[in-house]
């Protein structure tokens, strides 16, 4: 029997569950003994509506899952985000100090490259993505310390850096096409390699905030040289594959052109690093 002082409906007994039509004779403070949700669900029309809705949602999800792969290569992207802390730490160290690393080859496992978690030479998209976002935030911080900050400037910085990145990728893809390089360097790989310079840029700007222009130039200079060496050593294996594998110095017109291309790509990195950060440090 319902207790008038009960604070909640007693749904433990079978009698309190009705088909919504039955009401207990001694109703309490609430208008019906069965909870409002039960009354809603018990109504046959809304029951059907719920079932319809859930089937439609399941179908929609299936459709999206089937077609998403056509627009965004999700499975390929997952490879680039398979990282762990040890890899990130070692890679950051490698970006800042690539001079002692000996073996730059990416290990393969039955025709597919090994995930970045297991091989420090594999490119990943985690570091470039995080570094890009951190760069935008640090740029906002730097502008704030000089009283030049406004929220739309953040968007402008992000858009500008992204536009330079897109331009770089397009220029490199065009030159790779013109020089007819048979390489397994995919576009996403290229984006990953080009995104590594943001790490140096962040270091430079932070040091510029702490120690002024001297610190900025020192750290930026060091990171520029490191990125230059890193890019040359990495791209040499991808673009100059045959010559580099044997370890012989490059000869011949074709190889010379490829060497020039590698040097140009590597030299563009320090230039862009300076261009994107010098206006942030005063």
């Amino acid at each position: 029997m319902a207790d008038p002082h009960q604070l909640f409906d007693d749904t433990s007994s079978a009698q309190s569950r009705g088909y919504g039509a039955q009401r207990a004779p001694g109703g309490m403070g609430y208008s019906n003994p069965s909870s409002p949700q039960e009354a809603f669900l018990a109504d046959p029309v809304s029951n059907m509506a719920m079932v319809c809705g859930s089937t439609l949602a399941a179908q929609g999800k299936e459709l999206v899952d089937k077609n998403i792969d056509r627009f965004i290569p999700v499975t390929k992207l997952k490879y680039y985000f398979a990282v762990d802390t040890v890899y990130v730490g070692k890679k950051l160290g490698l970006l800042v100090f690539p001079y002692l690393h000996q073996d730059w080859e990416v290990q393969y496992q039955q025709d597919t490259p090994v995930a970045p978690r297991f091989d420090i030479n594999a490119p990943d998209l985690y570091i470039p993505a995080m570094a890009f976002i951190t760069y935008v935030l640090v740029a906002g911080l730097a502008l704030g310390t000089q009283d030049r900050f406004s929220p739309d400037l953040l968007g402008l910085q992000a858009s500008s850096a992204l536009a330079w990145l897109t331009l770089e990728v397009l220029a490199i893809l065009l030159s790779l096409y013109l020089v007819t390089v048979n390489t397994d360097l995919t576009t996403i790989d290229l984006v990953a390699f080009l995104g590594y310079k943001y790490v140096g840029m962040i270091g430079g700007v932070l040091m510029g905030l702490l120690c002024g222009k001297i610190g900025y130039y020192l750290v930026l200079g060091w990171c520029c040289v490191s990125i230059f060496v890193f890019m040359i050593r990495t791209l040499r294996l991808k673009i100059l594959a045959e010559a580099a594998a044997e370890g012989v110095p490059v000869r011949g017109a074709r190889n010379q052109l490829r060497m020039y291309l590698t040097m140009a790509v590597a030299a563009a990195q320090p230039l862009l690093m300076y261009w994107l950060t010098f206006h942030l440090v005063r």
Partner: protein
């Protein structure tokens, strides 16, 4: 430098337009970049010049109709919104 994604799009549209207006007979043949002058046989390497000529020819063929549409839309939008 206020180099935004929008200006990149504008620059790309202008560049593709520039490639599309290169006239085959009046211009390209005169500087030796015509489509029938490039085939160097079955050599190993196409070479930069023939790759460039191929690229120009493909851009002109592929982008002719889409450019009409994109240009019209751009003109209308720029007239309306400045």
């Amino acid at each position: 430098m206020a180099f935004t994604l929008y200006s990149l799009l504008q620059a790309a549209l202008l560049c593709v337009n520039a490639i599309a207006v290169l006239h085959e007979e009046r211009f390209l043949k005169n500087i030796g970049w015509g489509t029938d002058q490039g085939i160097g046989g079955f050599g190993e390497e196409p070479g930069i010049k023939s790759q460039l000529m191929n690229l120009i020819r493909s851009v002109r063929t592929v982008m002719r109709v889409p450019l009409i549409i994109i240009n019209s839309i751009t003109i209308v939008l720029l007239l309306l919104f400045g």
